[in-house]
């Protein structure tokens, strides 16, 4: 009986203590104590977690390094591939721009038929200004056909094989093109040179030639169609004791950067040699 009374008393006391503690806690009297305890708990937790992570890293680093190296190699190879793709695409964009300009030129001059060609080489001799293009007689090319770009006259086909052709540029020292100064309507001869510079000769002394005058093909002689742009006058030499004026021409086409050209296929050059009068015996 005594035992049961004392146990009930113990229970009541404990319950009172618990209720008292709860009441004190709810009243906020334990906040400083609980916060200090919580802080201590968090500190311990952080310490244990940090140490665990350190040990875990230490144990797993070699495997991660290997995988990271592999990943790095993969990424580097992917970057190299993408860079190659970027270069390819930039090249394609450049080519597309050039071809688009050529198409614009062809649309603006619908009277001619064209074959587009890529420049694939240059003549081995430094005395000649010839280029090799990647289309030939299989595509309908014939010697004498004019070659142009969207910027203007390039030259004419000199020799043809099945899949390629050699083009004599207007800058070649043996090239001579009949041209006309657009402003003064004066005819002249455009000559190439060993240095690839262009000059105008046989300009009448009476003609008015000024810097900036546009030079076009005249169509005389039958080698080139008329009105193809050649370039502009950059300087004029007029001496009273000479029969003709001379001028230096800046070509519109950059002959060092020729990538694609158009061959005019429906123009046949005329051979006027039989008409040239030769001195009799």
């Amino acid at each position: 009986m005594n035992k049961r009374v004392s146990r009930s008393l113990q229970t009541v006391i404990i319950a009172l203590v618990v209720v008292g503690l709860l009441a004190l806690a709810l009243g906020g009297y334990f906040t400083p104590v609980s916060s200090r305890f919580t802080r201590l708990l968090v500190d311990v937790q952080s310490w244990v977690s940090t140490r665990y992570m350190a040990v875990s890293d230490f144990l797993t680093v070699p495997r991660d390094m290997a995988s990271l190296r592999q990943q790095n190699t993969d990424l580097e190879s992917e970057v190299a591939q993408l860079q190659t793709q970027v270069i390819d695409l930039q090249q394609q964009v450049t080519e597309t721009n050039i071809l688009s300009a050529l198409v614009d030129f062809a649309r603006a001059n619908p009277q001619y038929s064209y074959k587009a060609a890529a420049v694939i080489g240059r003549d081995p001799s430094p005395f000649l200004s010839y280029v090799i293009i990647n289309i030939g007689s299989d595509q309908g090319l014939l010697p004498g056909m004019p070659v142009v770009t969207d910027k203007g006259l390039v030259g004419r086909v000199d020799a043809v094989i099945a899949e390629a052709a050699r083009v004599q540029l207007i800058t070649d020292s043996a090239s001579a093109v009949d041209v006309r100064l657009q402003s003064s309507k004066t005819d002249a001869i455009l000559d190439g040179s060993v240095t690839s510079d262009l000059s105008l000769d046989m300009i009448s002394q009476d003609a008015s030639v000024t810097v900036g005058d546009v030079v076009l093909t005249s169509g005389l002689g039958g080698s080139y169609p008329p009105n193809l742009l050649v370039g502009q006058v950059v300087s004029v030499r007029k001496l009273d004791y000479e029969l003709f004026q001379q001028a230096v021409i800046q070509p519109n086409v950059d002959f060092n950067q020729l990538g694609f050209v158009l061959v005019i296929t429906n123009f046949t050059s005329v051979n006027i040699t039989p008409l040239v009068v030769t001195p009799g015996p």
């Binding site: 003549d123 005395f127 050699r166």
Partner: protein, 168 residues
Amino acid sequence: MRREILLAIPVLGLASILQTSIIGRITLLNGRADLVLLILAAWSLQERVRSAWIWGVAAGLLVGFISGLPFYIYPVCYIVLVGMGRLLAHRVWQAPLLAMFTVTFMGTLELLMLTYLERSLFAVSLDFNLSFVQIILPSILLNMLLAIPVHALIHGLANRLYPVEANS
């Protein structure tokens, strides 16, 4: 001998392609290097090589076919170049680079002078001073610059065909 002749096809073919597509675009003033000429010069200076004349004819025909110059210019010049090379190979064999420079200089000068003469006589009148300063001298300089690496390459190629005995 047969191996040498068979080797001429890829070597001279590749050299012609490189010449027209890459080397021809690298200019000094208006001069250009001539890779085929350099290869012929170096090949003709290799003592154990016996097909240098055939290489000369083949290269001349190949480049003569590509070029706008009259067909005979390159074969004639290359055969003379090989002759000079064979002559020097037996006489200046202790100084191969000196021989290479000599053949390159003489061969380039011969080719360009003959080209100049042909153009002046049959095509168009050319100013000699301008041609000499703008084309001939720069071309000789470019060829001399390329002579050493080309000689090293061709010497290596000849050694592969005819390995030098260890005891010698």
